[in-house]
């Protein structure tokens, strides 16, 4: 090591102590001359001649000195230092130029970094657990296409099977802790040990905690929750908390920064054996266990993914061998769990349009700066020409100009960092502000703190940008021949216009693309807000109750004055997409139908009139009789020519796997209701829906109440009344309007982002167009003067300048439009809710860009028209 380092140290010493090193060299050379002189004297030469003779014998002393110096140091590095000093000196003389470049690149880079920060936090950042790369989530699919999780017995079988290493299992659950919505996990006892997570306080969960169902009522808090909900109380261990009314003893706080393996940071961990007490519907134990366990295991060292998969398929085959053919396994899916969102092709498809949009803004910013640099390069022709003339090599000059742009990129990176922090915080704030209050507690983004990857990304992006915007102008500017430069003739053989035109067209293309996106998304956002859900949404409050207190709560509800009607449904009207079933008249091919199991009060409460037949009777509801009410779309699809009332609807065998609706196997249609959107505003209105009966107090269903007066106020009243009898009866309570707002929100948000990004792109393009045309007009002042003197009208000159831009703008708009069309075909599958070929959206986008370009061109062209011919001619 020393041997490698020693020469470097030597050079470094020579570089840093330049004076001392030069003095040493001087002394050494002086010694040589003196010694030579002495010898000459000794040989009998006259002292006066001896020194001159020694000098002559030595040859050119200063060349020797220069060469010796270069041999000692890094000439490249010294030149670089010179360039840096020179660049700093020149940029101090042009502060506006520096501010323009730093601001423009900073803005583009900041937005790009914001997008990268999100991608990094969710997709790239490995979870802070032991060996995250070997973790895989396991699930399986039956032949009917139904996805499956596992029961406790199945998990126990997997432990013996050894197909994967250290498998652990868990159930995710949203509950209320101290009245606040909290997200946590019910985990097996080996969860923390397998992930290598320790405790910040007390202990984590151990194997003994999760051995017998219901035995250990303990909980481990996340560090963040301990800080935010318990004020970092060091005496928290041993205290009790109520989770949906089940009292648990806090045994510890998990280590800082750990929030589970999900895309939402988790707040607590409870032994999986407690799941039955908190949510009986997802109890994975007992005689009728639910398939509620998610299993994550590690790939055994030396085992490939395929081998693990084959072993797991064999295992699930053994589990399902006794079941009907349709319910047996076809495939096992292994999903990487090393990051909070696995990097799959689907994720890339969703992220890449966003990445492209932000990258485009960055490129437009670069094009802008390249144009500024180009103009500056032209202005520096004289300086560059002189330097070329006195012997600077072109390579050296290009290197110097590139040093300048890279130096500019460093403060730009800093500006970009500030922009990204501000935009991230504003984005989070905006999201929180736009979310209806009752939903805010569920908004838990991943921590978006900057890490080394983000810093590296910014540095790399800034330097690449510097090369992109700096290299082309540098090549262009250093092209003049020495002859022309010394003559002072800089215009004749330079054709920078081609590059400038390309840059302008590229900018207009980029903005057109982004604004078409914004236009299309604006229309989509407007559409979703004007879509009729098909049901009444005003004055409705939906309540998720715990089954424990359900009867009492319903009883209480009927006595609240603002409550006009109480209904129940397996799915709230605008809560989430209704689940699917496959059914048809006997003998026909089953079709996909959305279903909802509702109490008879559901239809009147939601203003769904029965258009044919009748509603469920109270007896049918209580008995959950095999009768059905279908939507008009279902009736039209299954019985187009017949009266649907009285027909029979038979579930396909695959659907019978779902225990909730197995009892409605062959149902008689008793009524028809109008079409509704099946739980999500993005679904078409004519999607078939079928309803089956249930009593109003059916376990696990959502309560829907129709209220009088303001729904938000009624929500508060209901929450207070129900809370008075049983403080933990209500798990969730929202107005249906708020649920709908939450559904529309993503459309609005993406529209805002697209508009913002498009708007910034447009502003950058406008400044670019404005700058280029101003420059061109200034350059052609003499020509305009001549034209004016020869009788051209101001109008002719304006058209002359404008026409130049129109040509570029049309080229950019056509390319942008075609690109948008092409990209929409590529990404259309992801954005299936949005009409990606919406002509009005295209028209809006293209129109805005064109209009803005014309506006930006008008000001400089006016200037051309007001040129005073006498001044213009005299100026040359």
């Amino acid at each position: 090591m020393r041997r490698v380092l020693a020469p470097v140290l030597l050079r470094l010493k020579a570089l840093i102590f330049r004076r001392a090193s030069d003095a040493e060299l001087d002394e050494e050379l002086r010694f040589h001359i003196d010694r030579e002189t002495d010898r000459n004297v000794a040989n009998g030469m006259a002292p006066s001649h001896a020194r001159d003779a020694a000098r002559r014998a030595f040859g050119n002393e200063s060349v020797a000195r220069e060469n010796a110096r270069d041999a000692m140091r890094w000439p490249l590095l010294e030149e670089l230092l010179q360039d840096v000093v020179y660049a700093i000196r020149t940029s101090r003389r042009a502060p506006t130029f520096v501010i323009t470049v730093v601001g423009t690149i900073g803005l583009g880079l900041g937005l790009l970094t914001t997008a990268f920060t999100l991608f990094d936090a969710y997709v790239l950042r490995p979870l802070a657990v032991r060996d995250p790369g070997s973790l895989y989530d396991i699930s399986w699919t039956s032949r009917s296409g139904q996805g499956h999780r596992f029961t406790w017995v199945q998990y126990q079988a997997l432990l013996e099977r050894n197909a994967v290493a250290e498998p652990f299992a868990y159930v995710n659950l949203i509950t209320r802790m101290h009245g606040q919505p909290t997200i946590g996990q019910f985990v097996t006892g080996n969860y923390f040990r397998s992930l290598g997570i320790g405790a910040a306080l007390g202990r984590t969960l151990q194997a003994e905690d999760a051995e017998a169902p219901g035995a250990n009522a303990v909980v481990v808090l996340s560090y963040d929750t301990w800080q935010s909900m318990f004020g970092s109380d060091s005496g928290v261990v041993g205290q009790r908390v109520a989770l949906d009314g089940v009292s648990l003893r806090i045994v510890g706080v998990a280590q800082k920064g750990f929030g589970g393996l999900e895309s939402v940071p988790l707040q607590y961990w409870v032994p999986v054996t407690m799941i039955g007490l908190v949510d009986p519907g997802r109890d994975a134990f007992g005689s009728k266990p639910a398939e509620s366990l998610r299993i994550v295991g590690r790939l055994r060292p030396g085992m490939t993914l395929d081998q693990a998969k084959r072993a797991l398929v064999a295992w699930v085959q053994a589990l399902t061998v006794d079941l009907a053919a349709q319910q047996r396994v076809t495939d096992v899916t292994l999903t990487p769990k090393g990051t909070s969102i696995p990097l799959t092709t689907e994720v890339i498809e969703v992220f890449s349009p966003i990445a492209i949009a932000f990258l485009l803004v960055m490129l437009i910013a670069c094009a802008n700066v390249a144009n500024v640099m180009l103009a500056r390069g032209m202005a520096r022709q004289r300086e560059i020409g002189i330097r070329l003339a006195i012997g600077a090599s072109r390579g050296r000059l290009i290197r110097q100009l590139l040093t300048e742009s890279i130096l500019l990129s460093l403060p730009s990176a800093l500006a970009g960092y500030l922009v990204s922090r501000v935009s991230i915080n504003l984005g989070l704030y905006g999201m929180l502000a736009m979310t209806p209050p009752s939903y805010r507690g569920y908004l838990r983004p991943m921590p978006l703190t900057p890490d080394t990857r983000i810093v590296l990304f910014m540095m790399a992006a800034a330097v690449i940008a510097a090369v992109v915007f700096g290299l082309a102008p540098a090549l262009q500017a250093t092209r003049p021949s020495v002859v022309h430069a010394t003559r002072g003739d800089f215009d004749s053989n330079l054709r920078p216009s081609k590059m400038r035109n390309t840059l302008v067209v590229a900018q207009i293309t980029g903005s057109a693309l982004l604004l078409i996106c914004a236009g299309v998304l604006l229309r989509a956002a407007r559409n979703t807000t004007t879509l009729a859900p098909g049901v009444r949404i005003h004055n409705l409050v939906q309540i998720v109750l715990l089954d424990r207190g359900r009867e009492r709560a319903i009883d209480d509800l009927s006595r609240v004055p603002v409550v006009q009607a109480v209904a129940s449904a397996s799915s709230g009207p605008m809560d989430a997409i209704f689940p699917d079933l496959f059914a048809a008249p006997a003998g026909a091919t089953p079709i996909r139908i959305k279903f909802n199991v509702v109490s008879p009060e559901y239809f009147p409460a939601l203003d769904l009139s029965i258009v044919r037949g009748r509603n469920f009777s109270p007896d049918e509801a209580r008995a959950r009789a095999a009768v059905a009410v279908v939507s008009e779309a279902t009736a039209a699809a299954l019985w187009p020519l017949r009266d649907p009332v009285g027909q029979r609807l038979v579930l396909s065998t695959a659907t019978l796997e779902n225990p909730r609706i197995a009892r409605y196997h062959t149902a008689t249609v008793v009524g028809v209701v109008p079409n509704v959107r099946a739980g999500w505003i993005g679904l078409p209105l004519d999607m078939p829906v079928v309803y089956y009966p249930q009593p109003v107090d059916a376990a696990g269903s959502t309560i829907i109440t129709r209220t009088s007066g303001d729904a938000e106020q009624a929500r508060g009243v209901i929450e207070r009344v129900l809370g008075a009898t049983d403080s933990v009866a209500v798990r969730e309570i929202h107005t249906v309007e708020a649920s709908l707002a939450v559904q529309i929100f993503p459309f609005q948000f993406s529209y805002w982002i697209a508009s913002l990004v498009g708007g910034i792109a447009l502003v950058l393009t406008l400044t670019g167009v404005y700058g280029v045309l101003s420059y061109l007009v200034a350059q052609r002042t003499r020509e305009f003067g001549v034209r004016m003197a020869l009788g051209a009208s101001p109008m002719t000159l304006i058209t002359l300048v404008m026409r130049q831009l129109v040509r570029l703008a049309v080229a950019g708009l056509v390319i942008g439009g075609l690109l948008a069309f092409g990209l929409s075909r590529l990404f259309g599958s992801v954005l299936y809710v949005i009409d990606t070929h919406d002509p009005l959206g295209y028209a809006v986008g293209l129109g805005v860009v064109f209009g803005a370009c014309m506006l930006a061109a008008y000001v400089p062209s006016r200037r051309a028209a007001t040129v005073n011919p006498v001044d213009a001619l005299r100026a040359q």
Partner: protein, 110 residues
């Protein structure tokens, strides 16, 4: 000095300096003298290229400079051959032997 002078081949100065330093430490002027003496005046070292060569060899770590006292009692810069320089010298010498042998064979054939 009647013997005809020979121009130095490109790159051979380094080899010569390393060889001379093998006999023991020397300063720049000593080196020029010994080169002339050993080559019997046939090789005339351009002093102007000797000092850059010394710096280059030092930067490569093959020789090491230090200040010492010359025989006329003046402060002078002396150079020692390092072990890396020793290895380099052996390698260069073998290469040179191979080269001169081959060249000799070619030149001797008619």
């Amino acid at each position: 000095m009647t013997a005809p002078k020979t121009d130095l081949l490109q790159g051979t100065l380094d080899l010569i300096v390393l060889k001379m330093l093998r006999a023991g430490p020397a300063n720049g002027w000593d080196l020029t003298q010994s080169i002339q003496v050993v080559s019997k005046g046939a090789l005339d070292v351009n002093y102007g290229s000797l000092y850059p060569a010394l710096r280059r060899l030092e930067a490569k770590g093959w020789i090491k400079g230090r200040w010492g006292v010359s025989e006329n009692n003046r402060r002078a810069r002396f150079y020692d051959l390092t072990s890396a320089g020793q290895k380099r010298l052996d390698a260069e010498r073998q290469a040179w032997d191979r080269f001169s042998h081959a060249l000799g064979l070619i030149l001797r054939t008619e």
